[in-house]
Symmetry: C2
Subunit: 157 residues, 2 copies
């Protein structure tokens, strides 16, 4: 357990590229990373920790801009902890919504698959009884989420 990690180690650990690591630093997502004599980066425990959080938030689609704001708060010290909590809570809420949406869509997709399976089974039956290669048409069965009336962006004109 060394007291710092090389860029390569760190990149491998998080499954990101060196370029991404440098990019994050440039964008201010990491608090000032230390350098050795030759200018090579040294990632310490605190960097690794913050990076861990950053990756967690990125993996859940927090945009870079918001991550920068968050890192800014971290840089400002302990006084910003309440604000960090707010940021995380808002993100968690959005994430919960996103998960719910995905679960809904997943159900719709499964429904569609089941429908297609039905078409297939019917076609097979027909083949056994009659002889044609035709079944139902291209694709009936609603998939969900269709007409909701909300969120009418895009009007043009």
């Amino acid at each position: 357990m060394p007291d710092y990690y090389t860029p390569g180690e760190t990149a491998r650990r998080f499954g990101v590229s060196l370029d991404t690591l440098r990019y994050y630093e440039r964008e201010g997502l990491l608090t000032r990373v230390e350098r050795g004599a030759g200018g090579h980066r040294r990632y310490r425990a605190s960097d690794v920790e913050l990076l861990d959080l950053v990756r967690c938030l990125r993996d859940t689609d927090m945009p870079i801009a918001r991550l920068r704001e968050f890192a800014e708060l971290v840089r400002e010290g302990d006084a910003t902890v309440p604000r960090r909590v707010e940021v995380l809570e808002r993100h968690e809420e959005r994430l919960a919504e996103r998960i719910a949406e995905l679960v809904d869509r997943q159900a719709a997709i499964r429904h569609k698959i089941a429908y297609y399976r039905g078409v297939l089974a019917a076609a097979e039956d027909a083949e056994g009884a009659a002889g044609g290669a035709d079944g139902a048409a291209g694709g009936r069965a609603p998939v969900g989420a269709g007409a909701e009336g909300r969120g009418a962006r895009g009007s043009e004109g």
Copy 2:
């Protein structure tokens, strides 16, 4: 219940822009949309249905390229139903994985929030007993997903 919808109606219905609708068509995500005498598009039930599926798949992050392939299969007729099922099943699997990942990360974020809350509470207690504005340091507590060893993309050389 008219037998076709105008572009504006369709866009509103799905919460997308006219540009997006045209883009989808250009990219081959929709099977040839009919036109009226003046060249204006007419979206019929079958278009709306396919669009519904397309949106469902897009909303769950299926890339345009795969959607194009799917639409291609639809264009090829009923014989491709088994292959469509395969595509949908693979997508559903990926989606399930993605949802699981998001749920994990969500737990990590909640954990982090709880940790921060603990820091806050401790600081308040300390304030009541002593008087300082300092608590614990910047941000301890793991967030999860850190070192996994797999997926070492990015090597450079």
